[in-house]
Symmetry: D2
Subunit: 505 residues, 4 copies
């Protein structure tokens, strides 16, 4: 093996799915930029690569953005510069197109009606076609971000009045969007017709607030009002909040993975308290995949809630056998000399003594490539575990997401090409249990809060990553573009080892 | 109320005790600076205000230090600059004297034998006197750090040979020190005669490693060998590791608070596995202060292990009812408009729905001023808790520490001036239970691992912060200097409110 | 006097006119970004507020820009990132609209033909109208820079082929532009029909180079080929350089101030060697405004060449009686306590002893507000000068520039509201002599190099700042916008003091 | 030739001698740090590698230093942090030992009398021996700077009272020092017995000021009082200024090179106005080395004054035929492709047209290695010069300086190993004329101002670099250390080319 010298390795790309964005907006508050800063602070988990805030000061737009964490970037000076009573903000997870500062949001532009700032959580599946068309009409693009087509469509829309204008602008768009647009005299919030990504309405004194998750309201002391409905546009201005239907009501497809992993456990998304849902998933796991064991050990932090559910239902005691280092930054400098389990040890360490001779049930929220699971199990065995049974509080991931989540290609998803038993052998567990999609959704549905406070989502979810059933039909062009025609290598059940997936370990 | 403008508020000073330092050293490893960087990464919890590494490259000393987190400061370029096969590193928590970059460690100096780099965890109680004396003799001081007197004492010591030299140098020093000194041809590690602060020996291939906690060994793949004994000096050089007794054996006084709060749960300090000890404390709490309740809720992260112990013994189910935001940086920009529970909400949020109508046992590791506990309880009640019973997995803190921990003055320690019932009323709990000092030590002692691997500490602990019994007698001058003659205001049991302690809330 | 605290004062706005930009472009060179960096280095005097380079790497555009000096911003890493064989670069002087990084050039955009990068030296006088029109058609603007309308006009132009396209795009534009646009397969350079600003063609091996001034060619070792003619577009691609007439030939109006002050003395602009022209102006000054004196003292650096001409013709010896500090940065921290002549002393100091008892002729290139001249004369008298005669190597400035120069409003131009004698009294000179416009132009014309190497400019110049005769008629709307209808306060010849202009001194 | 990739080349090391330091101090002024900042601004030419200021606030010392220019480093915040009524500051040119921030001055230390800050311009020739001795006595050194021995000597000195203390401390020191030391209740300034480096006293209101050069007084509006005499110590405190003789009066040896090149032309050093002295040198050059020519061209900026003197005496007209780019930073990124005369073109460019067919006298202040002269002459010929006659306004440099100037080794000094004719051939001049040492000193002496204002220096100078006669006898050990026994390679008069000295050109 060639010595390539020291390398700085990213801590993220950590074999988990990643949300691409958080959005936050506020209208009519004297400390708009500060409140947006706090909201983004609470939503940092949805994107750590970059952050930005735009405020509207009269008809003057002020923008500050940087490739940094919220806690690193914003200073009092920056927040003071961001004058004005209304504001939108964004946290971003890196996307394919490039990671330059230019591609951070809010996107801003000046058009005939004045300045506009836009933040977007989601992914437009026909962005490439739309952009080509717009360029043919003379549109200039400043970034590589798919969301920029939204800015152009809004600026060019010929509808009379804001509602018609948005109807026309968004009519051609396919995909997922929880979208905020800030104008000199109003803030609008829109969720796509299927409501893939969450977007909630809060109230802070006389001001209205929009945020990806309710935990942002808790930090600033805002009251949760309701969710923006799929297909709804809310317009917030001096008169208050007005609701418009941009698209007729139909069964929504909120992202089930928000509940499995993305959202903070103290949020309520799609009308469902996240922590409770996760505990339920763990509980069901104990029922569907029981095992004789001495100890339940969660993979922190996302495995803790399901592990508590598993422990409660199974009666097996729970211990925090894996400790997470919370001081980990965004990159890590790797030594030349290889260190066992290094990639996972950066974040996790097994508690010595505790696991010695025990039969362990290790509970995690999901498996993406399998590489991390394999390292965790190896670490647990290194710490003396006699048996390691892995339980996953969701179904096998078989397909990539095209609605706003950063996923590897299909070929990299271990469950896309391998059967359960093969995965078990790859991760070197004594047993492996996943939930079925049906079980997942059933448990989650039961957590829905049965009051009338703004969650008109139907019973369904988008579960494309678990099933390959995409709720929006693709055009042939899109299928090619997304590699959905690619035939994956046939599974080789004879192969004893899938070590090519992780040759180092 | 006067508008004081926006303020940037520190997240630390967060009503907890703070360790002042982590030390790490390695001798005879081709990647000494990288290993030290990794060790400091694992020890970040012991000091977040600054970090530094010095390496010895032949007879040339290289030093890099900055007021930053380990993950923020070190780059590949910096680690490449830090050439050499031996290294010492330090993480620092801010101390009284000043927080300038100048006062960060390692301290370095050139003296007649060449360069030396020194890192120190602890506190010298007679540093002021020693410094005055040294200055009278013509010594020049470059910093305000008490540890600098050690550098001078070592450089001036007339002993023949390293052992005698250190005996003489350290003979005059009072206080606590886990100390590493790096010379061109050796690395030494010393623990003070009472062994206040931990210091462990590890082995990585042919190299020896010294670290404040064993979790640093786990990350770099080193094997734990044993602890440095109180009063012992180990000398590591090309010949290997040699042990010397600088001070005769006597019953040690290792800091009990390391086990209660400071050390990482996956470390073993003073021969005791930390996580297990904390669980034991929680379990004992359930026995000594039982309560009828529906739910045990830990204050994360330090309350999790005792809460698990409490839940296990009491049979009351545990839920993660408080969620911690792990993206919190070192400062926080406060809005002008006051937000309820703001100070604690930065880090913690109650899970909505979960606590509604429930009787809660909230478990924390300690109470310092009481302000945070009060905010947490208020937040739990705001989330619907019907009753809140607070259980503390240690004894009431009544006295400041002079052995390396950053503590407020005696007057600020709520338990120093208030009885249990008064504290309960101040924090607004329905009931409040502490462990007794005896119970704490009894439980911890039971966790000690009964093998012979280097933990010659006796049964005793330094429990001065819980008892006011300082294991080293103070001179009258020191008592004055440390304010130990101050009479605290008499307790006023009639006072219905101690709100002066936290007027904002 | 009110204590206003310490202030950071800009060194620029220094009572001189400022060029707004330098442009540089290269096509077909393996080190395109380095050559552009060097070119911008040589052209730093044309703009110190910000700099940027864009390179074309295949069809991929790379951009780096910052508010910094060329010598501060570019590093090897940045230049390595700027891959590709063609490049455009820009230096910028701050303009009114804002000084944010966003407004720096090159401007870049993606349109139907791919990416484009544009750099512009000049000013479009009808930019506001054009922008409104474009916005009405759905165009989005990303900056406040007038040059952005050029990007839109080019992208939207319906002409067939590049030449027709540019003809249409630039047909509607009024004002001055020396313009470079970089596309994946070509670089174009255009000078407006009147050729206000310079733009020269050079050759470096097989590559063509375009630059604002010839001194950029000297640094990179390129050979001067010829100037781009007014109204000409040159297209550089793999086939070489092709010339197109976008606008029919007519008498040009090159900016006479380029020769008086902006351009570097070692450049040749509009076919005229700058150093020689400046010496000629000084010589003419000696003829038209002779004076009995002991010493000619230039105001460095711009006064040196005319002072040499003055000394030569008058026979009065020249001495460098004012020394310039060349380490002055872009801002300066002023003390609270007032210091005599502070504003000018930052840059200039009188040589002690030299001026004692002497009659001095101080030679400068121009007077804008008069404040600096007044301070210089006061400083010379403070150094012992018996008489101070001021000679200005250009005509009185009476009108602002709208063609790419940063000038104060008309009311701030001392010669716009004051007669010669009044100015003399304000600056406190013993005598004051300006050149007439006719004399200036006559002298400059005589320097024109009579060979055929590409300077088809006619005999005329734009002298609007000296005469108020603007070569492009304004629309009424533009006149209002530019304040050209404002009546200036009547001159008060009785006033003994114009100290309101500079109350501090 | 091997392609080594792009390189960042320093602009300094530019074949000139470099002063190592500027010092500035002030006592008893409410804006001490601002005044020091301004003083250092004016003294930037004496050192561009780093700068630092220390202020005394009561008994508390505050220090800020950085590797940066004065104009880059100091901000209002930094100057506000530097509280106190007294201050010392330093600019530094890089020295051999290392260029780290640690080695910047002011040096600070705490000793028995409290804090002290020290700044030093000069060089201690027996620093190595002194340091060894001090280390043997237990002294700790924090830097590699020779000046640190002064700090120790002062702290250890047993003398009673400050004067005796300093007498003892400095008694053992050999070499050059213009030295300021700041204590809580006083500022002292000392010049070594021979007065190698300048140090002047100024008065600003009630405060006293000390500075390397008088140009610093001019900027802050201070009045020049007199020079500190060789061997004198001035003590400034609340009582005013007191003078003490540390060493008895003897003929001084002020550095003649201060007048030739280092000092600013608007300063008066050693009682001699610098600009006038330089003009005199040029005039004498015209007398001693006359030549028939058409044009005198100075190498800017240091050649301008002597060129004026040359032109005046010879009657040959002067033109600024070489233009200097004043925007050059501290490093420069070189292209891979070689560019003719690149090294010199960064800074200088010939004015095109002006030199065509002319016989040129090019005037510079000195020749060090000859490489730059050769490039300048080649550039002049490239610009069309028919003949180039080089005139140097000082004597040939044959020996290195050990008194505070950064000089190359003897072997690199072209005049140390080559005769005049050989140098002429190497630089490719048509003729070459130097001044003799006697002529230089004679001219300079004539400029001395014959009043009584504090310049007790005798008639002599240190001219060691021109003669090899060092005014302080070396010990054998020092001679070895400084390479003064090395025999230089014999001159090879037959060699037609010395191109090995500059193979690239």
């Amino acid at each position: 093996m060639i010595d390539t010298g020291f390398r700085s390795i990213p801590v993220f790309p950590d074999d988990r799915f990643h949300e691409e964005c958080a959005v936050f907006g506020i209208f009519g508050h004297p400390e708009a930029s500060r409140m947006t800063y706090l909201g983004l602070y609470a939503l940092q988990h949805r994107g750590q690569e970059g952050t930005g805030i735009a405020t509207m000061n009269g008809r003057h737009l002020i923008l500050r953005k940087a490739q940094a964490l919220v806690s690193e970037f914003y200073t009092e000076t920056i927040l003071d510069d961001l004058k004005g009573n209304s504001s939108v903000g964004h946290n971003r997870y890196a996307t394919a197109g490039g990671d330059s500062e230019r591609d951070l949001q809010p996107l801003t532009a000046y058009f005939s009606d004045g300045p506009m700032a836009l933040v977007h959580n989601g992914n437009l599946t026909n962005a490439v076609e739309l952009r080509k068309e717009l360029e043919r009409e003379g549109a200039l693009f400043a970034t590589d971000v798919d969301s920029e087509v939204l800015v152009h469509l809004i600026a060019r829309s010929k509808g009379s009045g804001l509602v018609e204008r948005m109807e026309i602008a968004l009519g051609a768009v396919k995909g997922s969007y929880s979208l905020l647009a800030l104008f000199p005299d109003g803030l609008i919030g829109i969720r796509d017709p299927l409501g893939f990504r969450p977007l909630s309405i809060g109230r802070l004194g006389n001001a209205y607030v929009l945020a990806s998750e309710t935990c942002a309201f808790d930090l600033i002391g805002a009251d949760f009002v309701r969710d923006v409905e799929p297909g709804e546009m809310v317009v917030i201005n001096k008169e208050g909040l007005e609701s418009h239907r941009l698209f007729s009501r139909r069964p929504g497809a909120p992202c089930v993975f928000e509940l499995v992993y993305f959202s903070r456990p103290d949020s309520r998304v799609f009308g469902i308290p996240v922590y409770l849902a996760r505990k339920k998933l763990g509980s069901r796991l104990a029922k569907d995949h029981p095992v004789e064991a001495d100890l339940v050990v969660p993979v922190p932090d996302s495995g803790v809630a399901p592990a508590l559910g598993f422990a409660e239902r199974s009666g097996i005691p729970l211990d925090m056998g894996l400790i997470r280092n919370h001081y980990v930054g965004r990159t890590f400098i790797e030594p030349k000399q290889s260190i066992r389990h290094f990639g996972v040890k950066i974040k996790l360490n097994a508690v010595p003594g505790l696991l010695e001779g025990k039969r362990i049930v290790v509970v995690d929220d999901s498996i993406v490539r399998g590489t991390t699971s394999r390292k965790i199990i190896s670490m647990l065995r290194g710490a003396g575990a006699k048996e390691v049974h892995m339980r996953i509080a969701s179904a096998p991931i078989v397909s990539p997401c095209f609605y706003g989540i950063d996923t590897p290609t299909r070929g990299e998803l271990i469950a896309s090409t391998h059967k359960n038993e093969e995965i078990r052998r790859y991760v070197k567990a004594d047993s492996l249990g996943y939930l079925s999609v049906e079980a997942m959704e059933e448990e989650i549905r039961q957590c829905r809060i049965p009051d009338g406070s703004g969650h008109p989502e139907g019973d369904g979810f988008c579960n494309a990553c678990f099933t390959g059933h995409y709720p929006i039909p693709f055009s042939t062009e899109e299928r090619i573009q997304h590699g959905l025609f690619d035939t994956l290598s046939p599974i080789n059940p004879a192969a004893d080892s899938f070590d090519h997936l992780d040759p180092e370990d």
